[in-house]
């Protein structure tokens, strides 16, 4: 409702209907706050996990494998989450594993995003030969099984943490590229992008101010999912002996190595799986909450 139009008409109560809601700030609900606290917790563990863990990740206990939760070993101590297939303390290994899993998988996913989104949006915005070249290069990466590419890279450069991050990042950048390009192309045909270009805005402005903010929410939602894939990818490599080298703990490998325990009634595989789940689900909770409170288009459609 505007002041200037209101006074010109006799029946000013019948002015333009105020169907606009009042301005909102981004406030997180308890769900979003829960997500933030879980993610923060794991990020802290990346740094202090090894120091507060009761045991070293490589410590092998003297007694049984697959001990149940809350069991005590004589002379060694209390095992909150029991022990794994070669008698290591699972609780300690999860705390140690935060460093590798979140450190490596998160960094690799982040790298995949930086590379994939930059190239994908650039391809969508500029079109033409750049789009063709990037898309075909991307097709050839995506057409090879990721695990084969991983094996190749590790064989060529040797297994080290930087190699792992770089390999996983490069492989997953390909799928991020496809999503980013598709999103970018949808946004590029919007009138406001044309308005910006017709005003004489450069490529950088169009990418960073017009396209990226509108692609951010779907990309962020995909991030959590992609992270799980990277964790699984690294654990597959580890299983083949090419990923994280034993005895270093890593959540994905812990799940895989302890799967047999399920047959004996041991929960050893469940705890690292839960750790992965809490981290990735929390990331998605934060994303969903932000998009709902900022009146994202998805949230709007659901009303």
């Amino acid at each position: 409702m505007t002041d200037a139009t209101a006074n010109t008409e006799e029946n000013s109560i019948y002015d333009e209907l105020p169907d606009a809601p009042p301005k909102k700030k981004i406030t997180l609900t308890w769900v979003g706050k829960l997500g933030v606290s879980v993610v923060l917790f794991w990020l802290v563990m990346v740094f202090i996990g090894p120091y507060i863990a009761p045991f070293h990740e490589a410590d092998i206990m003297a007694y049984d494998s697959f001990m149940p939760i809350l069991s005590t070993t004589e002379g060694e101590g209390f095992h909150l989450l029991g022990t794994d297939y070669i008698e290591r303390d699972i609780f300690s290994r999860i705390l140690w594993g935060a460093r590798t899993t979140i450190g490596i998988a998160f960094t690799a996913t982040l790298m995949a995003y930086v590379v994939g989104v930059t190239l994908g949006i650039a391809a969508a915005v500029s079109g033409g030969w750049l789009d063709v070249a990037l898309s075909r290069a991307n097709d050839s990466i995506i057409s090879l099984p990721s695990i084969m590419l991983g094996l190749l890279a590790v064989n060529a450069f040797g297994s080290s943490i930087p190699t792992l991050i770089f390999t996983a990042g490069a492989i997953y950048a390909a799928s991020v590229f496809r999503i980013a390009r598709a999103l970018g192309q949808d946004i590029m045909v919007m009138d406001f992008v044309e308005a910006a270009r017709a005003r004489g805005e450069g490529l950088w402005w169009v990418i960073t101010r017009e396209v990226l903010p509108n692609a951010a929410m779907p990309l962020a939602t995909d991030f959590g999912l992609r992270l799980v894939f990277v964790v699984l990818f690294i654990s597959s490599l580890s299983f083949l002996g090419l990923g994280i080298q034993p005895p270093m703990a890593d959540w994905g490998s812990m799940v895989r190595q302890n799967l047999d325990g399920l047959g004996y009634g041991s929960y050893a595989a469940v705890w690292p799986a839960l750790a992965i789940a809490t981290f990735t689900i929390s990331i998605n909770l934060i994303v969903d909450d932000i998009s709902a409170s900022s009146g994202g288009s998805l949230a709007k459609k659901m009303i």
């Binding site: 200037a4 008409e9 029946n11 910006a196 017709a198 017009e210």
Partner: protein
Amino acid sequence: MTELLEVRDLKIEAPQKDGSAIPIVKGVSFNVKAGEVVALIGESGSGKTTISLGALGYTKPGLEFSGGEICLHGDDILSMENNDLRNLRGQRVAYLAQSAAATFNPAITIGEQVTESAVLHGVMTQAEATVRATELYHALELPDPELLGKRYPHQVSGGQLQRLMAAMALVGRPDLLVLDEPTTALDVTTQIEVLKAFKKVIKEEGSAAIYVTHDLAVVAQIADHIVVLYSGEVQEQGSVDQIINNPKHPYTKRLMAAAHAGPKPGMGDKLSGEHDKDVANIEVKDMTAGYGDIVDGKPAITVLRDINMSVKNAHVVGVIGESGCGKSTLARVIAGLLPAAQGEVILDGNVLKGSYKRRSKQDLQKVQFVYQMADTALNPKQLIGDILGRPVEMFQNLKGKAKREKVAELLQMVELPLEFENRYPAELSGGQKQRVNLARSLAALPEIMLCDEVTSALDSIVGSNVVKLLKRLRDLTGVSFMFITHDLSTVAAFADEIVVLYAGRIVEQGPVDEVLTPPFHPYTRLLISSVPEMRIGWLEETMKKREMAVGIARGVEITAVGCPFYNRCPIAIDGTCNIQTPPTHEPSAGHMISCHHTVEEILEIENSPQQVLHGFEKAAPDDETSATAH
């Protein structure tokens, strides 16, 4: 007549998270008698669509019925279980949505879709339904009724599709039809064709109808009873005669004032002359443009041919024509968004480069394009302050506090409160967004603004406020406008000059009062006759006019030779009009008509309205099947 549908004290509200509820419909009561058409009229947000959906026992997600009752033949719809509701919908009550294009599935034949609901509900067998559908095609005056069912939706025109939707709704012989703005998005000529068919079929079928619209002139043609709504409450209801001829409530009076009087000369205000330098601001010379690759100066699909026009300083030029005639393309060529294949665009005496990519910053600044849909023209992730601030920064070289002051000034100019600079576009109403859209173009301090249907998506009251604003801006800044629309009444009230486009060619142009008085180009005549007047019986009267017979029944055919209007012209000369490009006459200074008839002949025809003219024998609308160019 008995009461078919009774709506008593209907309340619908939107429950909120904190347990409170926002009332949307606040106790509405009205009745629909058998065979009667009741119009629900009001602006957007008045709850008219919500009430009409209630007749199907349906609310949009997020709303709920909170009181009152809706009875069909005495059965309370609101207390029905799912099974009863399923039988009610599509069988006893049928719904007709606004956009036929969005209603039909492009991959299924028309016949299958029209009969689907009746067969699914077990009202009739497929064979019976097909026979019934064919009857309805006849009743709706659709071309080639026997074979129409075998076609696909893209093979018929927009107006035909709209009529087919009526067939779809009527095939199961429902007691009640609910029509939600069925003609709002259509061109005036198409609107008449659809209205006429709807009126006829509703009368023949004897079905009752609820007609939802914001257009009083349309209501005057089709309704028996009118319910005027504002903000979920009935303001006034009565017979169509009483509401149209003797409105009592101030809101109804205000709606009537905002509704368009028909386009007449002298509706516009005279220019103050203050900014008038009488030099052409923008000039378009011999321009041909279209889409696809340009080979030898010819695009793959030619949209505009041989366009010559100009916009004088501080003048408003209205560009008018049906959808698909190339109005928007013309503006896009001038803005450099679509380089022309031939001809040139001249700004202040300098030839502009074809593409905006090669134009200088000053040229980009001087010519501003205003998009039709503010929803897609404003970046949803930028604050209004940033949307307006960026062009200020780029074109006025202002930063920091000076930039913020300029933004505040712009908001004031378009009559929006200052605190809007901290809002996102999604937090504004449609009319407010359109104002921001205009302000963004103003921020560049343009010489000419190309407004592409900026009022078309808005309500009559909101739209007329936007036009008022544009007039004020012109007086304030001396900016020129090219105002593109398919609404002749808006142009008549706002423009100084009119350009009438038909199938990519200019058929008539000149000062607004000259164009709106005889001699008319036959197409201008058709357009003027097609604008609904707020008068009962207007539809029947106008349908008797000569220009309607061929003009309404046939669609646009795009031809490279001859007069583009040949196939719809009541006074076309066979052997001349379809072969030779028409010459241009100048009945008065600056007024141009392209027609094979001389000005005297046209005037003579105007003065003898019922005379059957040569060429009129071909008027029988039998070859309508070729009219798919809508």
